[in-house]
Symmetry: none
Subunit: 417 residues, 2 copies
């Protein structure tokens, strides 16, 4: 088995789509000129990928899990653990984790879910929570702030479950909610305990924060006080084998989305920060591509994701999505010029479709192209939803991608004799 070969999965987030009347019945990917992507398809091995399974709209978290070979049906227990990992909490199996906002309430009514996008003072507010709510019953309370109004909460103790309803109402102007066990929860007792503790945490966080000096100052300055913490997206942490152990590949991740970055940390990948990678339309795609090339010097495998195509899809803005796809194409052009393809296989895909006509993720298959070492080129001549459908790779599922990639890298183990 080879030990000196490299692999890359390069993802245009939400880059797949559906035909649009305003684009003469083509998709944004087909309508946009993409010379680098087309070259990868023309000289590579193409196909379509169902991130989870045909027709299942994938989240970014479940899609990336599947593409990295971790079955989300088996291991996904909510986004919370990835979020918590992303803000630096060392989540452990059995923990229940939440994404949180510092918010503004009057009584129970949510006035501002983001507390005026509070920039400063959350460290002091967090210190008050640490001091006043170290535990509830036999459960340890772990709380850490992230950028602006964002934070993460982890409950650590025996018999907890993520099968509880939300506290955050997700809309302003209404009361925040009492968490309850989900109907039909597999562990109703654990869910009841978790909901009780979570409600108690929210109540005591409000007590700790409402009259806090930071919030007194904010009120004086006419800013909404960050006087409560609203958790959402409960998730139970499961034990995932580190990616380098699973595949015997040293692995790096270069992404712009916190949630996916948290997954990378969870899988013990080296999560690499790139200056200029903003996650927006203004992101520096060449900086991202350069970081991939650099990471290949020290790693066997790199997963990279450029976020902006997904934004245009969610906004229903075909032109913005096409510009974002052009960015992905420029990043791919940089790879074409700077990667040693005699020992590197690059796989291009999207984590899911975000059609402008849907303005959300859809369950349509996405085009894939493998390029470089070990590929068997087919007759596909451009990178697009229709063109790739006749490729030699056929229809793969996300869960099969790492096997296909490591096979081309010459690093797949033989099963049998």
């Amino acid at each position: 088995m080879r030990k000196d070969t490299k692999g890359v999965i390069f993802i245009g987030d939400g880059m797949g789509g559906r035909p649009m009347a305003e684009l003469d019945g083509t998709t944004t990917l087909e309508a946009q000129d993409t010379p680098a992507l087309d070259r990868m398809a023309r000289e590579g091995a193409c196909g379509l990928m169902d991130p989870i399974a045909p027709g299942i709209p994938a989240g970014s978290d479940t899609a990336h899990m599947a593409i990295l070979g971790y079955d989300p049906h088996r291991y996904y227990r909510g986004r919370g653990p990835f979020e918590a990992k992303g803000v630096g909490i060392d989540v452990m199996p059995g923990d229940v984790a939440f994404r949180c906002n510092f918010s503004t309430v009057e009584g129970r009514k949510v006035v501002d879910r983001r507390a005026g996008r509070i920039k400063e003072g959350t460290d002091q507010l967090t210190a008050a929570i640490h001091e006043q709510i170290p535990t509830i019953e036999d459960v340890e309370i772990i709380f850490e702030p992230s950028v602006e109004h964002r934070a993460a909460l982890v409950l650590r103790g025996p018999g907890l479950s993520h099968e509880i309803t939300e506290v955050d109402p997700h809309d302003p102007g209404v009361d925040y909610l009492e968490s309850r066990p989900e109907e039909g929860a597999e562990d109703p007792e654990g869910a009841a305990k978790t909901a009780r503790i979570l409600n108690e945490f929210v109540r005591r966080a409000h007590e700790a924060l409402d009259d806090h000096p930071v919030n007194e100052q904010r009120r004086e300055a006419g800013e909404p006080p960050a006087n409560i913490v609203l958790p959402r997206g409960a998730g139970t942490a499961v034990d995932l084998q580190p990616l380098h152990e699973r595949y015997g590949l040293s692995a790096a991740m270069i992404v712009e989305v916190d949630l996916v970055r948290g997954l990378g940390q969870y899988l013990d990948m080296d999560v690499i920060h790139v200056d200029g990678a903003t996650g927006g339309q203004d992101t520096d795609e060449i900086a991202i591509a350069r970081a991939v090339v650099a990471a290949l010097e020290s790693h066997d495998f790199v997963l990279a994701n450029i976020k902006c195509p997904d934004l245009g899809g969610h906004d229903g803005d075909c032109r913005a999505k096409m510009e974002a796809i052009a960015k992905v194409d420029r990043a791919v052009a940089h790879l074409l010029d700077n990667v040693d393809f005699s020992r590197t296989t690059v796989m291009i895909t999207a984590d899911h479709c975000t059609p402008c006509s849907v303005q959300d993720h859809s369950g349509d298959a996405v085009p894939i192209a493998f390029y470089g070492r070990g590929v068997r080129p087919d007759d596909v001549d451009s990178y697009g939803e229709r063109a790739c459908a006749t490729g030699i790779m056929g229809h793969l599922r996300g869960m099969e991608i790492m096997d296909a990639l490591t096979n081309m890298m010459g690093r797949a183990e033989k099963f049998g004799a």
Copy 2:
């Protein structure tokens, strides 16, 4: 349901490949002129097959298991039982079986793994083993010689496991090894017992053979003594339903590889010997094809395998592989001329790819073509990796082949009403 139709799976071993620069970017299968295979593709129903799953390099044993419809993930416990069955031992569920070599050692050092490819005398050496080592603890020792230095060992008794490390170091000039339980064995107690008995067998076989008259004579003649038995490839025998029971088809196998022949015997297929089938480049492919035609007179289903394309792949010798593929094509031409296709469906495939650029099995999909009774021809016009990718059968897995074949034979049972 029909009872008078016939089916054939005809396998060019390792016949799939990857494009080679020296063949102008074509594969050996694409580069070689194959009029008979091309006719089967042109008039047949084509596709690609992943023997196990996309990207998984298959062994010959696991690939043939899957193609015959026995899930290797569920039933494969090492090659040993197939090897033992192939040399005529009636392996039973729970047995742990090994392939063995008569070897030459000085002290613990392996001087010749094949004891000078000993031609005669292994019967007498085997008799000594039978006499001196009938049992160890509560385990029966079953040992039978095969051709030259080859033999098989079966341990039969309670609580055994195949999860043990090798005795045979696989390289000459180094000491042979003490078998131990594999790390993380599911049955550590069974593995410990099996390793202990195996080590004792090796020690006592050395005692029984070292001063044996056969070896005294060999030493006098300047030949290396066959003074030890080195087992390898432990496998636990599992209970596999005979193929004729599973599909209601009387079944024959015509192959050149001991390992696959052992699988056929294990599945209670009629394993047919063909004079001139050498397993090498000099094999008589027409004799093999004639044997298939003859076997169809008395059997509903025949699996045949011509070994030589795999050899060129392992040797990285494109020209040899192309000549071997030409042999497969001539055998297929004989089938085209001599089979009654009004009642026979023939399926052509490889058990896996052995690309000359890899010199080992790869996890790439192989081309398939169904020809004759019950097929739906598509637009594919030649038999090759790229050409078959757009065929009407799409991408199948090995496990789905027997269902596809029996459907075309008109011998698949309806599921439902």
